[in-house]
């Protein structure tokens, strides 16, 4: 089923020279300066290639896709109401299956964290449970950024948003785990600061059948409160502190991705405070919350270690 299976287990990174030169986003979109999602989308579409149909709910991506009459991508996109992304993709897939085009054309849903972890979770869960043959990508900027930074289920502990002025009191929902529990064929995490890893994951996902889920951490200068020039640095800190490990699960087999491998060793991880203190949204975070982060990261990596040892 998955012809890349052996490669994927070895987890060899794609070489930068292997990235296709074709661009699928026209220049001059309306994204903010330093938006990680623009970079994520650019590399994801390169990996997916021309035989792709996109569906996008209300999100920053709606803005990227521009105004009526001027499609900003070289791939067709179906805009769909906020809660419907998984169902919308299912409808496109069903239509392609009816016409015998399902093997040829890849259906890709791209949604934000609110559209995925909150309002869209039911439609996504339904699509995953049905084993719908599509890729669902969540770019996670950890709040409703397009509507002015309100908290979502994916906003992390202690983060300031317009609706959590005192900092969020609950941790981030672990969406990849929820999708993994659906028994789908591919689950991966990614990070806008590691475009080669992200490219490889989308390329791999394209060749797998069934439901594939990729959850991508997407740094957001206005929402997180840092200088746009620091987007890559902030994303890397999420990885280097062990907060956002990069991994993939192919048919139940767990593998750490190259950029995160070395952090199995706790000594190699940077302290989470470096990540938190670089962003204004955490400026009022309590000592207790920082400690909770440390424990969370420790537990998360212990679990990863156990998984790797036991499989």
């Amino acid at each position: 089923m998955n012809r890349n299976f052996s490669r994927e287990v070895e987890n060899n990174m794609v070489n930068v020279l292997e990235i296709v030169e074709d661009e699928y986003i026209h220049p001059g979109t309306r994204m903010c300066a330093g938006c990680a999602m623009s970079l994520i989308y650019r590399f994801a579409l390169k990996a997916l290639g021309p035989k792709t149909i996109l569906t996008v709910p209300a999100s920053c991506l709606t803005v990227l896709h521009g105004m009526q009459g001027f499609c900003t991508t070289k791939l067709s996109v179906l805009h769909t109401p906020f809660a419907t992304t998984g169902a919308s993709a299912s409808g496109i897939v069903a239509s392609l299956e009816e016409k015998g085009l399902a093997d040829e054309i890849c259906v890709v849903a791209f949604a934000g964290d609110g559209g995925t972890t909150d309002i869209g979770i039911q439609a996504l869960s339904g699509a995953a449970e049905r084993g719908t043959n599509f890729i669902y990508a969540c770019y996670d900027n950890e709040a409703y950024m397009n509507t002015g930074v309100q908290r979502s289920g994916s906003t992390p502990l202690g983060a300031f948003t317009a609706t959590t002025p005192g900092g969020k009191t609950r941790p981030k929902k672990n969406m990849p785990k929820i999708l993994e529990a659906h028994g789908i064929s591919y689950v991966a995490t990614a990070n806008g600061s590691y475009p080669l890893d992200l490219y490889e994951k989308f390329k791999k996902a394209r060749d797998i059948k069934g439901t594939r889920y990729i959850h991508i951490l997407s740094a957001c200068p206005p929402g997180w409160g840092y200088d746009p020039k620091d987007t890559i640095r902030i994303g890397r800190l999420a990885n280097d502190t062990g907060f956002w490990p990069l991994y993939e699960i192919s048919n139940g087999k767990f593998a750490l991705s190259q950029p995160s491998k070395k952090f199995l060793d706790p000594a190699k991880r940077k302290d989470i405070e470096q990540y938190l203190s670089a962003q204004k949204r955490f400026s009022n975070i309590s000592k207790q919350d920082i400690e909770t982060y440390r424990n969370y990261i420790r537990d998360q990596w212990n679990e990863i270690k156990r998984r790797l040892e036991n499989q």
């Binding site: 105004m67 009526q68 499609c71 067709s76 179906l78 109401p81 409808g91 239509s95």
Partner: protein, 432 residues
């Protein structure tokens, strides 16, 4: 249904005894629906069960998405339709309410989707029984809306609906409604047409969007601005122009609806009035009962009896609720003296919706007819012949006095039998 031509039952045609739900399912099969997506709800469920059976037995080659909610069902229908498939679904009451967000989405994107609606009252409190309150809530979302009166009409209207919705002059989704249980679960003999004949009447869909043709890059449903956009790459209309176009298409669709109805009648020998409303004994009538669906069917049975009293009375059974056939109704009601409207729903805070729609449609007529309306049969309560008769008598008396009562009146309410109910204030609208 009016039978055109000599033979009611053409020997070549298959006559089957079917429920209204199964009539809808057969229509979907004969229309060669490509993608369906649905979620179970009473009293619609037998539609999707029957379609599942057709697919299982290989009688219908279609993809059927059994999704986790009506919201998703409607979204999947929109996406499959935008991808170029012929698409349909079925629902009732709460299912339609949950689909609501997608309804203006479908009409705004101009997707020719067909929904069958087995009508049902909307909670709370829970009621699975029939009235038209689900049907009337979607009157402003830009869909074509039909109400059927028997199972043959359900089958025929579905076949017509695909042709109307898919017409390039229209490209608007259609809802085909029929009374829950009263038709959805009642068996009647219906003529099923041969597949080849349906195929000639309803050619394969040539969709105006068709995302699955990836040689054409399309952004479907993006942001529109308050104003139009002019750039060197081209000009794009604003939201206002999009919605104006939808309204114009709905207005124009009346001609297509009539055209398709007439073509169907000619080919298959069954007609439904002028395609917009059906008349019964109206030629010499000065008094008209105005209703739709099950209420019309009930009224039909008392016309003869009322005529025996010497009344010149007939029935207009509304088939097309949206677009509201204003021009044709004004033409028809010119010179009529009395209209009695029976509504199986309430436009809460106003009166029966059919009633105020008709009053608005007849605004400005010279010597307008006297219009009196009554609410009947909410939540599946029986609509008895005696209510219709009493309503007619009462209206004619009021008309004689010229007494226009705006207060909503009801038949079948049983307040008298609730004298021992301990929440009397509630029965007057307060308390609880």
């Amino acid at each position: 249904m009016t039978i055109i031509g000599k033979n009611m039952v053409n020997s070549k045609k298959k006559v089957k005894i079917l429920t209204g739900n199964h009539a809808a399912a057969y229509a979907f099969r004969h229309a060669r629906v490509g993608v369906m997506s649905a979620y179970p709800i009473t009293p619609q469920s037998p539609v999707v069960e029957k379609i599942s059976e057709f697919i299982e037995k290989g009688k219908l080659k279609a993809r059927f998405l059994l999704v986790e909610s009506e919201h998703s069902a409607a979204a999947a229908c929109c996406a499959a339709s935008a991808s170029g498939s012929r698409v349909g679904t079925a629902t009732s009451a709460h299912g339609l309410m949950l689909m609501y967000e997608l309804l203006p989405w479908a009409s705004g994107t101009r997707l020719p989707i067909i929904i069958n609606l087995a009508t049902r009252s909307c909670g709370a409190p829970w009621s699975v029984w029939d009235d038209h309150s689900d049907f009337i809530t979607i009157r402003d979302v830009g869909w074509i809306q039909f109400m059927c009166e028997d199972n043959q009409e359900i089958y025929d209207t579905n076949i017509q609906a695909f042709k109307i919705s898919e017409d390039p002059r229209v490209n608007i989704p259609t809802i085909v409604a029929y009374d829950g249980y009263i038709l959805s679960h009642t068996m009647m003999p219906i003529e099923l047409e041969n597949q080849e004949d349906i195929d000639t009447f309803l050619p394969p869909l040539n969709h105006h969007i068709n995302l699955s043709d990836i040689s054409q890059v399309k952004g479907v449903g993006p942001v529109t601005t308050p104003d139009i956009i002019k750039r060197k790459e081209g000009t794009a209309p604003g939201y206002y122009e999009f919605r104006y176009s939808l309204q114009k298409a709905l207005e124009n669709s009346i001609n297509v609806i009539k055209e398709v109805h007439d073509e169907f009648a000619k080919k298959f020998g069954r007609a439904y009035g002028n395609g917009l409303f059906k008349t019964y004994k109206t030629d010499d009538a000065d008094t008209i009962i105005f209703a739709m669906g099950s209420v019309s069917a009930q009224a039909r049975t008392v016309i003869e009896k009322l005529r025996e009293e010497g009344l010149k009375i007939g029935l207009v059974s509304l088939r097309l609720f949206r677009p509201f056939p204003i021009k044709y109704l004004r033409e028809f009601f010119k010179g009529k003296k009395n209209i009695i409207v029976f509504d199986r729903e309430i436009g809460y805070g106003y009166e029966g919706v059919l009633s105020y729609e008709l009053k608005a449609a007849l605004y400005g007529l010279k010597n307008p007819p006297f219009i009196k309306s009554f609410i009947v049969g909410l939540g599946g309560r029986d609509v008895k012949s005696e209510y219709i008769i009493e309503g007619v008598h009462k209206s004619l008396e009021l008309a004689k006095k010229g007494d226009i009562i705006y207060k909503t009146e009801y038949f079948g309410l049983k307040l008298d039998e609730l004298k021992d109910y301990d929440e009397q204030e509630f029965l007057k609208g307060g308390g609880k």
